[in-house]
C-alpha cells in the first residue's frame, strides 16, 4: 500500500449517491415508456414515477454535501467548472435535469390540478398553488393540448437527459485510468442499466405500497408490464456485468491477480453473495418464472414484490462493490486495506440510512401536494385475495 492509501477517501455515502441518481433515472425512464412509447399498460404509475424521481433527485446532492471537506464551497462548481472534470459537469446536468426536465414535466402534467386547487384550496396551502400557477389560470382545451405536446417534447429530451444524469456517474468512475477496477468504457452503460433496473423495481414497490395504503385495487396489467420490463432490463444488465467479468479474466492484465483476490476475500459477501446470488440471480429466476409460467395474480404479486426488494438490495450492493471495492486494493497491486464505516459519524451508516428514508418522506409530502391517481381516488377496497 502506498502510505496515503490506508484510509478510504470515498465512503458509503458515495456509494449511496449513484444508487439514488440511478433510481431517479430509472423511474423517469419507466414514466417515459408511457409518454413517448405509448405503453398504455404502465399509465397508472406515470405520475407516481415522476414524483418518485423528484423525491430522490432532491435528496441526491445531500450525500455529496455531507462528504465534501468544504460543502460551503460547493457552489464553486457552478462558478468555475473545470470542463475536463466529469464532477464539474454534474452540477449543470443535475440543474438541467431538475429544472428543465423533471419540474417542467410535473408542472405541465399537474397544471389543471394546480389551477383548480389555487382557486378552491383552504388555508395557507392555497398560496403554494397560487405561486405554482405562475399567475396563469388558463386551462382551456387548447392550452392543455399545447401542454400535452410540450410535455411529450420534454419527455423526449428527458430520456437522454436521464441517461446523461446517471451515465456521467458511470463515466466519473470509468474514466479514472489510475484505478483498474473502475476504468472501463463499459462503466457508464453498466451503471445506466442497473439504474433502469433499480428504478423500475423502486416504482413497482412504491406503487404497490401506495395502493395498499390507500386501499386502491392494483392494476395487474400494469404490474405485469413492469415485471416484464424489469426482467428484460435485468437480463441486459446481468449480461453487461458478465461481459466485464469475462473480458477482465480473458485479457488477464497486471491487475487481475489483485482484483480476483480482492473479490474472493474482501468482497466475497458483498459481491458474490449479496450482489450476484441474492441480488441478481434470485430475482432473475423469480421474474423468469413469472414470464415462463402462468401464475395466479396473488403469486405474481408476491414474486414481483420479492424480486423488486432483492433487486434494490442487489443494485445497492453493486454500487458498494464499485465504490468501496475500488479503494480496498492498492494501486501498487501489492496490498489491501479495510473500510471502517462509522455509525453516527458524518459519513457513517446512520446518515446513510437517514438519506435512504428521507426520499420516502419527501415522496409522501409530494403525493399529498400532487396526488398521483385522482381518477381512482374512490376508496375501493383492495378486493379479496385471488
Amino acid at each position: 500500500m502506498y502510505p496515503n492509501e490506508l484510509e478510504l477517501q470515498w465512503s458509503v455515502l458515495i456509494a449511496l449517491y449513484p444508487f439514488i441518481t440511478g433510481l431517479v433515472a430509472g423511474a423517469f425512464i419507466l414514466a417515459s415508456l408511457e409518454r413517448v412509447f405509448n405503453l398504455e399498460a404502465v399509465r397508472p404509475t406515470y405520475r407516481l414515477a415522476l414524483l418518485t424521481a423528484l423525491a430522490f433527485l432532491i435528496v441526491a446532492p445531500l450525500p455529496l454535501q455531507l462528504h465534501l471537506g468544504h460543502p460551503e464551497r460547493s457552489f464553486e462548481m457552478f462558478l468555475t467548472p473545470h470542463r475536463s472534470s466529469a464532477m464539474a459537469m454534474f452540477g449543470f446536468v443535475y440543474l438541467w435535469y431538475l429544472l428543465a426536465v423533471l419540474v417542467i414535466e410535473i408542472w405541465l402534467e399537474y397544471r389543471p390540478y394546480i389551477v383548480e386547487r389555487a382557486q378552491t384550496a383552504a388555508g395557507w396551502i392555497r398560496w403554494f398553488y397560487r405561486a405554482a400557477t405562475l399567475g396563469s389560470y388558463n386551462v382551456s382545451p387548447r392550452a392543455l393540448r399545447i401542454d400535452d405536446r410540450l410535455g411529450r417534447f420534454v419527455t423526449v429530451i428527458g430520456i437522454p437527459s436521464a441517461f446523461l444524469l446517471h451515465g456521467y456517474v458511470g463515466f466519473l468512475f470509468g474514466s479514472i485510468k489510475a484505478n483498474p477496477w473502475w476504468s472501463t468504457p463499459l462503466m457508464p452503460i453498466v451503471f445506466l442499466f442497473s439504474a433502469i433496473v433499480s428504478g423500475i423495481a423502486a416504482v413497482l414497490l412504491i406503487y404497490i405500497g401506495y395502493c395498499l395504503v390507500h386501499g386502491i385495487r392494483l392494476d395487474m396489467p400494469c404490474l405485469d408490464a413492469m415485471g416484464k420490463f424489469l426482467f428484460y432490463a435485468f437480463v441486459v444488465d446481468f449480461g453487461l456485468e458478465m461481459l466485464d467479468l469475462v473480458h477482465r479474466n480473458y485479457e488477464a492484465d497486471e491487475s487481475l491477480k489483485t482484483l480476483n483476490f480482492m473479490v474472493e476475500t474482501r468482497l466475497f459477501t458483498s459481491q458474490i453473495v449479496i450482489q450476484i446470488i441474492i441480488g441478481t440471480l434470485a430475482p432473475l429466476l423469480l421474474l423468469g418464472l413469472t414470464q415462463l409460467l402462468t401464475l395466479t395474480e396473488s403469486a405474481r404479486k408476491g414474486l414481483y414484490t420479492t424480486s423488486a426488494v432483492l433487486t434494490l438490495i442487489g443494485i445497492f450492493a453493486m454500487r458498494w462493490n464499485v465504490v468501496i471495492g475500488g479503494q480496498l486494493f492498492s494501486k501498487s497491486f501489492l496490498g489491501f486495506t479495510t473500510y471502517k464505516m462509522g455509525f453516527a459519524t458524518r459519513e457513517g451508516l446512520l446518515p446513510a440510512l437517514v438519506l435512504l428514508v428521507l426520499p420516502i418522506l419527501i415522496l409522501w409530502l409530494l403525493v399529498r401536494l400532487f396526488p398521483p391517481m385522482l381518477d381512482q381516488e374512490a376508496e375501493t377496497p383492495a378486493g379479496p385475495p385471488s
Binding site: F78, H82, T133, L134, G135
Partner: protein
C-alpha cells in the same frame, strides 16, 4: 392571435422565469469568481503566491557556512562532504535567523549514525555499513569517529 397568446401565456411566464434565473446566475458568477482566476490557466493565480508564502524551515548549507566555517571546511574535506548540515542536525532555519539564539536540538549520535550506517540488505553495497553491535562493542560512535570528518 390574442387567443393564441392567452393559451400559451403560462409558457411565456415560465420562459421569463427561467430567463430571470439565468440572469441572476450570470450576475452572481461575475461577482463571485475570485480574482486572478484564469490568468495562467483554470486556477486562481493567487494560489501560486499562497504556495510561496511560507518561511523556509531549513536554512540550507550555505547559511551554516557563515558562522560555522571550521566545521564546514572539515566536512568538505572528509567522507561526509555531500551530507548537508541539516541531514543530521535537523531544521536550522530558526537557529540561523535568530543568529544562534534558538539552539538546535541535541543529537542522539548512536541512533543517528545507525540510521545511515547500520547494515541493511536493501542498502547499496558502496554505502559504508556495519553491524553496529559487533563494530562498536559497546562504545559510542563518536568515541572513535569525528562526525564531521568520520574517516579514521
Amino acid at each position: 392571435m390574442r387567443q393564441r397568446f392567452r393559451d400559451t401565456e403560462h409558457l411565456v411566464r415560465l420562459a421569463l422565469l427561467f430567463a430571470a434565473g439565468t440572469l441572476v446566475f450570470v450576475v452572481a458568477r461575475a461577482l463571485l469568481v475570485p480574482e486572478g482566476f484564469g490568468e495562467y490557466g483554470h486556477f486562481r493565480s493567487g494560489a501560486m503566491v499562497d504556495n510561496q508564502l511560507r518561511e523556509p524551515v531549513h536554512a540550507g548549507r550555505e547559511a551554516c557556512r557563515e558562522c560555522h566555517g571550521d566545521a564546514a571546511a572539515a566536512l568538505a574535506a572528509g567522507g561526509h562532504a555531500g551530507v548537508g548540515c541539516e541531514s543530521c542536525h535537523g531544521a536550522l532555519g530558526a537557529h540561523a535567523r535568530s543568529e544562534g539564539e534558538v539552539k538546535p536540538a541535541e543529537l542522539d549520535a548512536a541512533a543517528l549514525c545507525s540510521l545511515c550506517h547500520a547494515r541493511n540488505v536493501a542498502r547499496p553495497a558502496r554505502q559504508p555499513q556495519v553491524d553496529v553491535a559487533e563494530h562498536a562493542e559497546g562504545a559510542a560512535c563518536t568515541d572513535c569517529h569525528e562526525a564531521h570528518a568520520p574517516a579514521l
